[in-house]
């Protein structure tokens, strides 16, 4: 921000109060600020967003650490007594002082406008440069403002101790795979719902959501800290027609008060050996069992699973001999796959509604977002199986569409960007699964085929490194485990400071956003998912009728002009 001469020859910053001055540091290790004696060290939270005003540049920085220091051992050996308030005041900022570590994230030439935007930090400010609280304008300059013409910026929260919205660039967000991480109960599901709302509202991608805990479609629980929980709106309630609910457990979906748009049935013939292979861990299959599945497939093709499961216990060994498979392995495979018969949604033949994957694809083609609810079917086995089967085939279709587009190059052939949301992502993307599941492929091939992932996980360290490094934007709530923290920061430069920031986030509704969709890492207080947000998303259900009419009128006027 420019400085203004105040008539006395002294240049005065236009920002607020100075919170300290830079005293030492390096480009590699970050900078140290001596905190102004009038400031309270307790206000300097890790993750706070501050601006260092250099001579030529403003450096947008994050508070990463703080330290109490004293220039004199004597003071520490004989601290002022408790009642000696005056002496403590005198010492504070002189003999005893506070050092705050800052990590510059971006720099911007002073007085720069539009085109000379923020750039990566390649310099450091000189000694005694002033450090100040960031202002609303700073945040907007860096992160953009919601409500721009292209509908690019979507606010997902505000910086610590500020009320200004921090936006993520939804176009960039949709372009690549993204991750939402955090311990259980830190707000992952809320963050995911927010991100999805952004994608849907600004129409930047169509979504396929594998909703394991029924939190995205219609009504989700919100913990209130007391015994009575309340509900928040799901995507269907916010976006109506633009969201379709598919259900594996229609009864449960109906019980929550909504008629699913489509019931999901999966026939045995839709299950490929690869789908079973991805269940190896979950079913505790050994490699030879999978081998023998391939043998069955070699003979019976699509009907392999149906045929195998049709065998009764004692006959399986016989069957193994017939097809030349190892009897022990095939018996094990048979026994374990029998579990699939317990799933009510597994059917012998294709359902009269036609193939569920085709239905989903139709919806996606029309730009309608699909939430697939699992209802009571909350087992990991079920989730893995269904998500894999469906995603594999959807992906195949997308590959075809993309190839067609690449050959015709007609704009109307360009596929809609698809984002697939999966929870418990480490189950799909751990080092061994990532090589087999379709999700590993999607994560690795990036945006080539217009499909990307939104992975939600509480244990990012379980995810394959290669996949992690492909994740564009990471929104991370509190993590405690050192391994998880490390995993989230894989492939991010200058992470020393961020580590401490991550470990010191609040246990709810705070997150660190890093990566492709934001110009610099930033800690946010997550946007409140509640009445105001519903309204911002254009859902007027809870708005009093009079106000609603006014809003609709305003919109109509905007569309068709006042007269």
């Amino acid at each position: 921000m420019a400085k203004r001469e105040n008539g006395t020859g002294v240049y005065k910053s236009l920002r607020g109060q100075e919170i300290g001055v830079i005293t030492r540091g390096s480009l590699v290790e970050g900078l140290e600020m001596k905190l102004d004696a009038r400031q309270n060290i307790e206000d300097m939270k890790a993750g706070k967003f501050v601006v260092i005003e250099g001579d030529k540049n403003d450096f947008f920085s994050m508070v990463t650490d703080m330290r109490l220091d004293a220039n004199n051992q004597e003071v520490l050996l004989h601290p002022p007594r408790q009642e000696d308030e005056l002496l403590r005041q005198v010492l504070s900022g002189t003999s005893t002082y506070n050092i705050v570590s800052l990590r510059p994230m971006l720099m911007m030439p002073k007085g720069a406008d539009g085109d000379e935007g923020p750039r990566p930090v390649k310099a450091i400010p000189s000694h005694f440069s002033q450090v100040q609280d960031a202002m609303e304008e700073d945040v907007a300059k860096i992160f953009g403002r919601e409500g721009d013409e292209q509908g690019k910026y979507f606010s997902i929260g505000s910086p610590l101790d500020m009320d200004t919205p921090v936006c993520i660039d939804m176009v960039r967000f949709a372009e690549r795979s993204n991750g939402i991480f955090g311990k259980t109960g830190t707000g992952k599901s809320f963050l995911t719902r927010l991100a999805l709302c952004g994608l849907i509202h600004f129409d930047k991608a169509v979504n396929l959501i594998f909703d394991m805990h029924n939190e995205y479609g219609f009504k989700a629980m919100k913990e209130t800290g007391q015994s009575n929980s309340t509900f928040v709106k799901g995507l269907k309630q916010l976006f109506g027609e633009r969201v379709a609910i598919f259900s594996l457990d229609p009864q449960s979906t109906r019980a929550r008060g909504v008629q699913p748009d489509h019931e999901v049935y999966i026939s045995y013939d839709q299950v490929t050996v690869d789908d079973v292979a991805t269940l190896q861990d979950e079913l505790k299959l050994n490699p030879t069992a999978v081998e023998s599945a391939y043998l069955v497939y070699a003979i019976y093709k699509d009907r392999w699973l149906r045929t195998l499961l049709a065998q009764e216990g004692p006959d399986v060994e016989e069957f193994a001999k017939e097809i030349g498979a190892h009897p022990g392995s095939l018996v094990a495979l048979h026994r374990k796959l029998k579990r699939l018969e317990n799933f009510p949604f597994m059917v012998q033949k294709g359902h009269e509604d036609g193939d569920v994957v085709d239905r989903i694809m139709e919806y996606l083609d029309r730009g309608i977002n699909v939430v697939l609810e699992f209802g009571q079917q909350t087992s990991m086995l079920c989730y893995l199986l269904v998500a894999n089967i469906i995603s594999r085939r959807i992906h195949e279709m997308y590959v075809k569409k993309s190839e067609r587009f690449y050959s015709t190059q007609k704009p109307e052939d360009q596929p809609r960007q698809l984002m697939i949301t999966i929870e418990e992502a480490h189950k799909f993307l751990n080092p061994s699964a990532a090589k087999q599941t379709i999700f590993g492929t999607i994560a690795r091939e990036m945006r080539k085929y217009y499909v990307s992932l939104l992975v939600v996980d509480q244990r990012p360290s379980g995810i394959d490194d290669e996949v992690l490094s492909q994740i564009g934007t990471r929104i991370t709530a509190l993590l405690n485990d050192e391994k998880d923290i490390q995993a989230v920061l894989t492939g991010v430069s200058g992470t020393d400071g961020l580590r401490s920031v991550l470990a010191s986030l609040d246990s709810k509704q705070q997150a660190l956003v890093i990566g492709h969709a934001v110009p610099m890492p930033v800690v946010i207080k997550t946007r409140e998912y509640g009445a105001q947000f519903y309204r911002d998303m254009g859902c007027l259900d809870d708005v009093p009728p009079a106000e609603r009419r006014a809003q609709v009128e305003k919109k109509t006027n905007a569309l068709y002009g006042d007269n």
């Binding site: 004989h78 002496l87 002189t94 003999s95």
Partner: protein, 218 residues
């Protein structure tokens, strides 16, 4: 006392009204507390107008002269004016003595020493030693609170005190701080600020700092 009485004197804002008035009328009741009898660049000795009537230890005083000089009283002493006649003990109260032997008080004088810390010029207080020392026989006044405030806005007076070897430094600092505190309306923030400056001036001497701060606030 050449220019001081003139109303156009740019320094008049540093003079208390009452001293201007008195200078103008030159009446019998003067407001000065002493008269310079020995003077150098760094310190001066003045004779108190009244016996035992010197300004207190640590008080800020102003010497009327072409450039009014400001100092801090760092020593007060009373002695006999006749070199060979030392006062002797009488075993009586002062009141009894004044009745019975008034002449002995005529032979006593109170004097005080002040450390020069700066002067006043058109622009305001200057924290630099004056170019010329005070003239002998100049009158010495006690500084008004406004003058003290103006003069003690920065920490330079403490530096002056600390830099002098001849005076009981810490005691003088404490006395001066207490004076200035009063002039600043007992503002604790001011004391904290001065304490911080002092901490810088004293360097590593935490023990000394804490003792001064504690006693100044007492």
């Amino acid at each position: 006392m050449s220019t001081i009485g003139e109303s156009s004197n740019p320094l008049s804002r540093f003079m208390s009204d009452e001293s201007n008035a008195i200078n103008a009328s030159s009446g019998p009741e003067r407001s000065h507390v002493g008269e310079v009898v020995e003077s150098s660049t760094t310190e001066l000795v003045a004779e108190a107008r009244q016996l035992h009537g010197a300004p207190s230890f640590g008080q800020f005083v102003r010497v009327d002269s072409e450039v009014p000089i400001v100092g801090i009283v760092f020593n007060v002493f009373t002695h006999s004016i006749e070199p060979n006649r030392r006062p002797t003990a009488y075993g009586k109260t002062e009141d009894e003595l004044r009745l019975e032997q008034p002449q002995i008080f005529e032979l006593l004088r109170t004097e005080f020493q002040a450390l020069v810390i700066g002067y006043l010029d058109e622009m305001g207080p200057v924290q630099i030693l004056p170019p010329q020392p005070a003239r002998i026989h100049s009158f010495v006044h006690v500084c008004s609170e406004d003058q003290i405030r103006a003069f003690t806005h920065t920490d330079d007076y403490m530096r002056c005190i600390l830099n002098t070897v001849k005076v009981p430094t810490d005691e003088l600092l404490i006395a001066a701080l207490r004076q200035t505190m009063r002039a600043h309306g007992g503002d604790r923030a001011y004391l904290v600020r001065m304490g911080k400056e002092l901490s810088r001036l004293l360097g590593d001497d935490y023990d000394r700092l804490s003792s001064i701060v504690r006693r100044a606030a007492y």
